[in-house]
């Protein structure tokens, strides 16, 4: 019998069932999520920022890293063919580069730029509150 077990027996008597001393695994409040799951949670909010998603469409909008946002849209066209489009918005200093498939690049301007900035702002506010339970202004836990 180990010294620890002897000491424990002296203190609490029966040491056969010590299961109650173990820490619970993955309790809901303490559960850690991977980046994939967190981005999915964020995207659930992000996709709703641009109004209701049309029937048969799949939309994702999320912040990938410190400088990049991704817009993904998938739907079937008139012929029933699956169509998908991914647009990457990359913040470069005081400009936003829009990159689409087929090596199409352009810097956002005017209304399109304002719409994206508004979307990022809303995304930040809602994700901070709903996913991370932080005050968006102070960044302190709610």
């Amino acid at each position: 019998m180990s010294v620890f077990k002897k000491a424990l027996t002296l203190l609490i008597g029966d040491t056969n069932d010590l299961s109650y001393l173990k820490m619970p695994k993955n309790t809901a409040g303490l559960k850690k999520l991977g980046e994939r799951e967190l981005i999915q949670l964020e995207s659930n909010i992000g996709r709703e920022l641009f109004g209701p998603v049309p029937q048969g469409h799949r939309r994702e909008f999320f912040c990938l890293d410190e400088k990049t946002c991704i817009w993904y849209e998938e739907y079937k066209d008139k012929d029933g063919k699956q169509v998908s489009a991914t647009t990457r918005y990359e913040i470069q200093g005081d400009k936003v580069l829009k990159a689409q498939e087929g090596a199409r690049y352009s810097y956002l301007e005017g209304g399109e730029l304002n719409n994206l900035l508004t979307a990022i702002n809303l995304y930040y506010e809602r994700v901070m509150r709903a996913v991370y339970h932080r005050d968006p202004k102070t960044r302190q836990p709610l």
Binding site: L33, I39, E42, I70, L113, N121, Y132
Partner: protein, 93 residues
């Protein structure tokens, strides 16, 4: 007779040990400040830090402000997540 032995005057706020060290009770008491006082001081400091941050954010352009928000989000996400490979993100990008 009085005066044969020197008796140091009694000091309310300190005591002298044999090795010459002096323990000052008044200073020790100041070290034991109430928790509420310490928390109030921290709250003031936090409010000050926040006002400094808010002031600096007001100087940013809308794009820089959005960039700051993305940085904050990314930071908070990193704190929450466990490490895992993210090959699907490379595909998306």
């Amino acid at each position: 007779m009085p005066g044969d032995t020197f008796t140091p005057p009694r000091q309310e706020n300190s005591t002298v040990f044999d090795d010459g060290n002096v323990l000052e009770f008044r200073k020790a008491r100041e070290g034991l400040r109430p928790q509420s006082e310490i928390e109030a001081e921290r709250a003031v400091q936090s409010a000050y830090d926040y006002s400094v941050t808010a002031e600096s954010e007001r100087q940013l352009t809308p794009v820089e402000y959005a960039a700051l928000q993305l940085v904050e989000l990314h930071k908070v996400r990193q704190e929450r997540m466990v490490n895992e490979d993210k090959p699907f993100l490379k595909e998306a990008a």
